[in-house]
């Protein structure tokens, strides 16, 4: 009896039937791509954010089984999850680090789309819903770390409540409506927001945020998951101290995505202005960017003002984020002196960052354009399709080695759990995920190699195209300086030059050529190089 994976058994038939049935659903409108080779994750950071959202949903649902959103039990129930529930530590750490990863991914995703100009060409709705989704993501993460009800959570809740209260006219009503009154209400309501209201709002927004073309890259998804677990193993999240209103809290700072806001609050300037108006202005300017950006081109190099604004926002985010963390280590000073940031100094730095960022952007664009021009001068390197070129046999060997490594890791993860080394086992599970990502990539690489057409025979077919023959014999191309006007962009000029070259070579093809046709490929390559040189010389003349 021959065992083969290609046989059509009933399971395969069932799956085919189910897949055909999906044809009637909305999912067919989405074009899912499973890349057959490595592609840059920058293009599908949004998908990765969504995958992390799903991870958060699963781990969060599991945590709901044990967490109690009650004033005097919230912290203890988290401690119970962390210390006594089997694998509770793992689930909690994955949930926590995934929340950080999701915020980070969302920010990276946004800035990549920003600098690559993808919010244009009728993608404005995607951009606007994306910005709202980003705000909700941060609110979701914020409510999450508040419902532990540790000291830090209490400080965060008090700041959130007082900021809401500081909104003119409607503030107090809004606080009463959203937060209720008293810690009992705060914890319970933040829980309701965290596990249901915000996620359902996010899911709804995702319906109008997803583009129709989606990339699901299995190795990258597994690598991100592994990285989250690995981080959880190395930096397990702490419990913090249980909140007690009679005990002075230590110095705590919020999570990293809110320290920027915290730095503004620490200037002790008016709460509404620093805590609501400034971030509101920031979010608003992000929302309107697609309608302000009137450049016709996409690349950041061709949109200097928009790029400069983006760089400024990045610089301010980085500086305020760090500043929010920084607390004067001098313990002889009073707590207040250590915490309060001088508003004049702070706002001067914020203002100074604007010209600095604009100058930096100007310099970067100059450098990038120079590099572009220089790259055109250099002859293009041959090949460069893939970085690694394993022989087939080595693919098998690496695969088997990784499989053995997986077995070893599984055993060590199991023993780590047996010995109560929770964070070590989480670390190892993270490595297992990363190794899986590597295995999948190698499998994909091998499969692509097997599918690839056999290498072209060195002897070309006899019915060769007339273009590549004997450019040497051709009459020289017309000099660009004399005839052509310099208004057309160099790319077009190169194309027109190529046309001219092909014409000349066609005329040359009628004349008998002596060169062996095997050489023709390399010669045509030379010809393109010549053309490129031409266009770059034109660039320099410009």
């Amino acid at each position: 009896m021959v065992v083969t994976l290609h046989r059509e058994n009933s399971l395969v038939r069932f799956l085919r039937w189910a897949y055909a049935g999906v044809d009637r659903t909305i999912f067919m409108a989405l074009k899912f791509t499973f890349p057959a080779r490595f592609v840059s994750p920058l293009g599908f950071l949004g998908m990765l954010t969504f995958v992390i959202f799903i991870i958060l949903g699963i781990t969060g649902a599991l945590l709901m089984l044990w967490y109690e959103p009650i004033l005097d039990r919230a912290w203890d129930s988290v401690q119970n999850i962390n210390d006594t529930i089997p694998y509770g530590f793992h689930i909690r750490n994955i949930h926590y680090h995934a929340s950080n990863a999701m915020v980070m991914m969302a920010i990276l995703h946004m800035y990549y789309q920003y600098f690559s100009g993808r919010y244009k060409i009728r993608n404005e709705i995607l951009w606007v819903t994306g910005v709202i989704l980003g705000v909700l993501t941060i609110l979701e993460a914020f409510t999450g770390y508040d419902i532990i009800f540790s000291e830090r959570a209490e400080l965060a809740i008090s700041i959130a409540a007082s900021l809401t209260n500081s909104i003119p006219i409607l503030g107090p009503q809004m606080r009463d409506a959203f937060f209720g009154s008293g810690f009992h209400d705060f914890v319970l309501r933040f829980y309701a927001f965290h596990v249901f209201l915000l996620p359902i709002a996010m899911l709804g927004l995702m319906v109008v945020h997803f583009p129709r073309f989606l990339v699901f890259d299995v190795p990258m998804v597994m690598a991100i998951t592994g990285a989250i677990m690995l981080t959880g193993g190395v930096f397990p999240v702490e419990m913090g101290l249980k909140f007690d209103p009679n005990v002075p809290p230590g110095i705590t700072v919020p999570e990293w995505y809110l320290t920027g806001l915290y730095a503004f609050l620490r200037t002790q300037y008016d709460k509404f202005v620093t805590g609501v108006a400034w971030p509101g202005l920031f979010i608003f300017s992000l929302l309107v960017i697609p309608f302000v950006d009137k450049y016709k081109k996409f690349s950041w190099k061709d949109r200097p003002l928009i790029t400069a604004v983006g760089i400024t926002s990045l610089a301010q985010i980085i500086v305020t984020t760090y500043w929010g963390f920084y607390i004067d280590p001098n313990r002889t000073k009073s707590l207040l002196e250590r915490l309060v940031i001088d508003p004049i100094f702070f706002y001067i730095v914020m203002l100074l960052l604007v010209p600095l960022s604009f100058g930096f952007t100007y310099m970067m664009i100059k450098l990038a354009k120079n590099a572009e021009a220089n790259a055109k001068l250099q002859p293009r390197k041959p090949g460069g399709k893939t970085a690694i070129n394993f022989p087939k046999r080595w693919i098998y060997i690496v695969f088997v080695v990784l499989l053995v490594f997986q077995v070893y890791l599984n055993i060590s993860a199991y023993y780590a759990v047996l010995n109560g080394m929770k964070n070590y086992s989480l670390f190892i599970v993270g490595i297992i995920m990363l190794v899986f990502a590597g295995m999948f990539h190698i499998y994909r690489h091998g499969a692509a190699m097997a599918r690839a057409p056999p290498p072209k025979p060195i002897t070309p077919p006899t019915t060769a195209k007339p273009i590549p023959s004997a450019p040497k014999a051709a009459p020289p191309v017309p000099k660009p300086t004399t005839a052509e006007p310099l208004t057309a962009p160099p790319v077009q000029k190169a194309a027109s030059g190529a046309q001219a070259a092909s014409k000349t070579s066609r005329t040359a093809a009628t004349t008998p050529t002596t060169g062996a046709s095997a050489l023709s490929n390399s010669k045509s390559g030379d010809a393109t190089n010549v053309l490129e040189e031409r266009s770059s010389t034109e660039l320099r003349k410009k």
């Binding site: 004033l71 007082s162 209260n165 009463d176 209720g180 009154s181 810690f183 009679n246 002075p248 207040l336």
Partner: protein, 203 residues
């Protein structure tokens, strides 16, 4: 094709527009009652229409004849049936009889103050210190200090906050013929008794 001239609009509304107007009005009327349903959101525990006893930790009602001058107790208001809710900071108030020099000798409501114990800075619980030279409310966390006469922060981070976040919420008191002290129904707004954890404007 000739365009039809618009009908002479002598203040007349076309039948179609009238229908649209009616439909819009109907939609508004349909959803109007739900505006009031917004009251579902705030916690109604603060809506108190009757006066309440000032209940001291030993269970007795505070009385002007027995309560010492320059002395304070933590009281719970409003008192809930659930004991764990009564431990909450937001229901904890400082009941103070002012020192002599601030008029604490009088046997009427003016000798007493009730302030929310939730510090306006970051919600620790402050308390009144009756010692000579202090006689003020102090927060153990970041050192905010409160004037017992008005509830206004005069030192520490809470004093740097802009109004209304520098004055403690207060409860109004009344004394009956037996000298028992009662808390009058509060008005939880920044212009009334204040908002716990946020403050009030001094009137």
């Amino acid at each position: 094709m000739t365009q039809q001239a618009p009908p002479g609009s002598g203040g007349k509304v076309s039948r179609r527009d009238f229908l649209k107007l009616m439909a819009a009005a109907g939609t508004v009327m349909t959803f109007t009652p739900f505006v009031d349903w917004g009251k579902f959101l705030p916690n109604p525990a603060g809506n108190i229409s009757e006066r309440a006893k000032v209940e001291l930790p030993n269970g007795s009602q505070a009385n002007v004849k027995t309560f010492q001058v320059n002395h304070s107790e933590a009281i719970i208001y409003p008192r809930a049936d659930d004991p764990s809710l009564n431990t909450e900071a937001f229901r904890t108030w400082q009941f103070i009889r002012l020192p002599e020099e601030l008029g604490g000798n009088k046997n009427d409501a003016s000798a007493f103050r009730v302030y929310s114990m939730v510090c306006l800075h970051l919600w620790c619980l402050w308390k009144y210190w009756p010692e000579e030279g202090r006689k003020r409310g102090e927060c153990p966390c970041h050192g905010s200090m409160y004037d017992p006469l008005t509830g206004m922060a005069f030192a520490g981070p809470a004093s740097l906050q802009s109004p209304p976040s520098n004055v403690l919420p207060v409860l109004d008191l009344e004394v009956d013929n037996d000298g028992n002290i009662w808390i009058k129904p509060p008005n939880w707004s920044v212009n009334g008794n204040g908002i716990v954890g946020f403050g009030r404007y001094i009137t």
